[in-house]
Amino acid sequence: MSSDAVGGASASVQAPARPASARLSLALQRHRRGVLGTASVAAFLVAWQVVGSRDATTADLISYPTQVVATGAQMTASGELGRNALVSLQEFVYGFVPAVVLGIALGLAMGRFRRVRYLLDPLVMAFYTAPRIALIPLLVIWFGVGMESKVAVVFLGAIFPVMVNTLAGVEQIDPLWVRAVRSFGAGEWQVVTKVVLPGAVPAVMAGVRLGLGRAIIGVIVGEMYVAVAGVGRLVQVYSGAGRAAELVVLVVIIAAFGFACITGLRLLEERIAPWRRELEV
């Protein structure tokens, strides 16, 4: 369909020319997913704007998009948002990065060495299934109301899913792959670097994704419980004051951060495990 014909002015040999309206409907059909998705979001925003800005009471209660944007700009300009977001980001990074590194290392050790596994299994399973929210008050008693307690919440929330999934990934390694490298004379270290690690990548990434969600929840809930600063602390403050617009701004920021992290992880996975993308197509 590379014909330049406008409307029905000239007829191509291969396919009869279509009127413009027909071509439009064809294009709509082809991009149906994008078109419908955009339409639903746009409809939601318009409805929210119309209903929310109807009078002062509803504006206070549910706010509306343009007000949210204005509030966001104002919170950014005053430095309030930046200052608190930085605190939350630090808590997230200091807790999440060591959790991932240590979680992968311990998961690998548990998968390769039976003794390590027997040693850690009960503890890991207890922590993995325990409601971590209930630990927050305890962590505050131990680490205080500052950043440290939130770092601990993030760390404990993220490390166990990473560990458990890494372990599962190691266990799913096909023994035949191991036999293949061993048949060339590979030792234990080469078995790990050439088979176990690359073979476990998809499961490890699933664990990191799970841990990421728990880490973000950990930062926010931890700060909402008690904190001096942070996005969760702002949520707590504005919730007490009944300020809908500010709360929406904060929710959008948290969601955007989560979305950015997930996208980053996906790009990373496509780089280190491109064979998976091909499998899923």
Binding site: W177, F184, G185, V195, W275
Partner: protein, 268 residues
């Protein structure tokens, strides 16, 4: 000269299920000449695949000796390479990187690896597919990669464990002819385990017939069909006679093996 010698090899192992001692191989003796193509046939469970793992060095015999060029085999090494029935390619590696695997283990430089891997891919006719992943290839192509990977380390003995067992009948014929073409080039010693009698006659200089429970060598049958052998060779009177004689030897073994498997299944 005798390159590979199995001398009264015996293997027992403890079965994990009931902790009883299981005799897998007993009194297996065999001498293989340099450049010889030896096929091993036998009923399932006769330990013919286990025999290859012993020669590779992944398993150690309980008693008896395995000598390669007069030296005892104690661990895997680049002078012996395995080709697996299920290909055993690493799914996250491209064809080229799969072929490089053995060379990485033996510590070759990246440039040398690449060059050697490309040479071997050319040999098996897969040069155009070096960037593909295993799941994008057909079964026959995957096993070509498996063969290239084994040849890449420059082994003196190629150990092939039912390499064409997972392929369809037509592909199997073609792969057999391809393997002969590759073998005729540099005459590496090949030990080829199969359950396909026709395949063993078509390919081998000698066919080793094994029994099951325990695995023993029943007979070693020289195949004197002229080479190069083409597809028509399978219809010659000599071929038919070999097939008849091997099957005669095997039939009761297969029946015994089946009966044993039933009794095992019943006792579990």
């Amino acid at each position: 000269m005798e390159q590979l010698v199995l001398d009264d090899v015996r293997l027992t192992y403890r079965r994990p299920l009931d902790e009883t001692e299981f005799l897998a191989l007993e009194g297996v003796s065999l001498a293989v000449e340099q450049g010889e193509f030896v096929a091993i046939v036998g009923p399932s469970g006769c330990g013919k695949s286990t025999l290859l793992l012993l020669i590779n060095g992944l398993l150690r015999p309980s008693s008896g000796r395995i000598l390669l060029n007069g030296r005892p085999v104690s661990s895997p090494g680049p002078d012996r390479a395995l080709v697996f029935q299920e290909f055993a390619l690493l799914p996250w590696r491209t064809v080229l990187h799969n072929v490089e695997l053995g060379l990485e283990v033996t510590g070759q430089s990246a440039a040398a690896r690449r060059a050697i891997a490309r040479d071997n891919l050319r040999l098996v006719g897969l040069s155009a597919f070096e960037r593909y992943y295993p799941h994008q290839l057909s079964g026959g192509m995957r096993q070509r990669v498996g063969i290239a990977r084994a040849l890449a380390v420059g082994p003196e003995v190629l150990l092939m464990d039912e390499p064409f067992g997972a392929l369809d009948a037509q592909t199997r014929q073609i792969m057999g002819a391809e393997l002969l073409r590759i073998w005729e080039r540099d005459r590496k010693t090949i030990l080829f385990v199969t359950h396909d009698i026709d395949e063993s006659i078509y390919l081998a200089d000698r066919v080793v017939v094994m029994s099951a429970n325990p695995g023993r060598v029943l007979e070693v049958m020289p195949i004197t069909l002229p080479r190069p052998r083409d597809f028509e060779a399978r219809n010659s009177p000599e071929f038919v006679e070999y097939r008849r004689r091997i099957w005669e030897r095997l039939e009761q073994e297969v029946r015994k093996s089946l009966a044993w498997q039933f009794s095992e299944a019943a006792s579990e």
